[in-house]
Symmetry: D3
Subunit: 129 residues, 6 copies
């Protein structure tokens, strides 16, 4: 019952233009299912792609660091599609097994200590205010 | 009604030993309230500190990247204490305003696209399986 | 290892009475798997059905609006079963593809700006207090 | 801007009847702010109280165990009001500091290993299917 | 330690241009603290405002329905700032106390049944696939 | 694309030592996939096992109560693997169907009332401060 994916051949011109920009920007032969799903709402497709392109571009943070942060959020949100697609992107940018292992270790610990801070209802330190 | 903080002067020897190690490792004059709160369960204090020390040590990932991942998880979990204390740690390691801004931009976008992927119920691409 | 579904034929009289009420209220030939699963705890089955019937009834909000709110929460919680069953209910009440697209756009944006508000630790405006 | 609390003196008869039942059931002189807030929607007040009374009653699980589970969920959801009020309820039922400490340790570990299972995308073991 | 708010008088021209558009679009004398906080990253300010303006505009869904969906997500994410500001927006668009009460009832029930569906590990019905 | 599981025969000595300790401690013929997945980062494997062994040991709380708390957190986090494996552990320790049913009822109610408390923005009672 999920909406069927919209393939390039069946896409309207505005959708096809976004697909073409994704393929060119990323040098990939086809766009991921994510884009083919949200293409049902062309305004969301265009807006999301423009935003993502801007946010993930090199800047004050390295693109690999950005992809690892994306994975950290996706793991915390428990979104399988998001983990897989952004882990793949991080590996294309050079993430090693050891880096993935440390990434998971930090994500796990952060989730643990977050709950301890919440559960013990810790007040902000004066120097953190 | 949260448990009172356990200060160094009132701590048992095992708790004091952990406090001393935290202060020496981090070169700080006092430990954060977080540690003074979980010290009510000395086993949790000792285990959490040993784990955190190991996980956040330099390794395949840079310590600043680790702190930014910690912030990303804490923002996604909406834990104010955790955001403040780890943002402070990231700034001590050199995080600039521009880096913090990009970090937030990625965390925000990841949360947005996570929901779009979930809501459109996107199936995994063959190449991601 | 999930508990087997309890079909009408194998149900105790109290469970069967709830099934009958669901089928009559919704004019459906059979109840969803959700009800057949929680029927393992008949008190939860009866209480949940009575509550849901009351909460989702027409009132100050339109039933379609209620189902879309249910989908918004389910997407935010990443519950696949919940998204599918309430998206189906919303479509039966007339939700169009364009409405679903806008619903997802709002859910996505809300999750993004929620994280930005949390990450930047925004204080409440005076006029919001 | 949160809605003002509805005190007993200003309550309609149906709201007052619920307040009276809460006070009698719990042997307390006044109801918590939670009830005075949701009393703005009397149907939600009545339904929630009836459900909670039924769910938290002694049964196959001990009332103290139920309150500790309530705290575990509230910590995971990061709901300060919920943690405080149910921690207080658990303490009234006899929860010791040592039990609270172990409760937090389990909640913390569960949140950590949940993320590791998700991040490493662990498939179900054959014997768990 | 949260970043100080950037007031109109101290803003760079690109930030001021966004503030002016927000004030004109919403007919308000000043922008909310949210915008003054994310203005530290002008690209995020501009992108978020353009996206929000587009997403929340009247379309296939009524603006009030969109604001109530925003509140539903914010409650589920436990973001106080987000609840307050979007509840205020919904009230400006005409949300009554009775509608707010029903909104909360649906959000509460959705969160309850989401957990029951997850905890009982309910398989998708054939007709939902 | 998830990392392949590391079986005992292919494991390095340090990983094998942890596997052996898990099997002996739990009297099981093989370790769960969870351990075979995180074994890609041996430090995480060793640390997580040592922590889990310590946290889940009998103490001020009964081991069955601890496993039910673990299930409660895993349901709230929507982690299928975690629910299945810890539900299995709880059943091995004697959890009955009636206890599981009550556990789910409490988890469901806690998630509902958590959202009501958050949505109505309830202030802490004086006696809870």
């Amino acid at each position: 019952m999920p909406l069927p994916l919209i393939e390039q051949a069946d896409a309207t011109p505005d959708v096809r233009a976004v697909y073409d920009d994704i393929k060119e920007t990323r040098s990939v032969p086809d766009v991921n299912n994510f884009w083919k799903a949200i293409a049902h709402h062309p305004a969301t497709l265009a807006r999301t792609w423009e935003s993502l392109k801007e946010v993930m571009a090199p800047g004050a943070l390295d693109p690999l660091v950005k992809e690892m942060i994306f994975v950290a959020v996706s793991v915390t949100n428990n979104c399988q599609y998001c983990i897989r697609s952004h882990e793949a992107a991080a590996r294309r940018l050079g993430m090693t097994d050891a880096q993935f292992g440390e990434l998971m270790a930090v994500v796990g610990m952060a989730n643990e200590t977050n709950r301890l801070a919440v559960g013990y209802q810790v007040d902000l330190d004066e120097r953190l205010k």
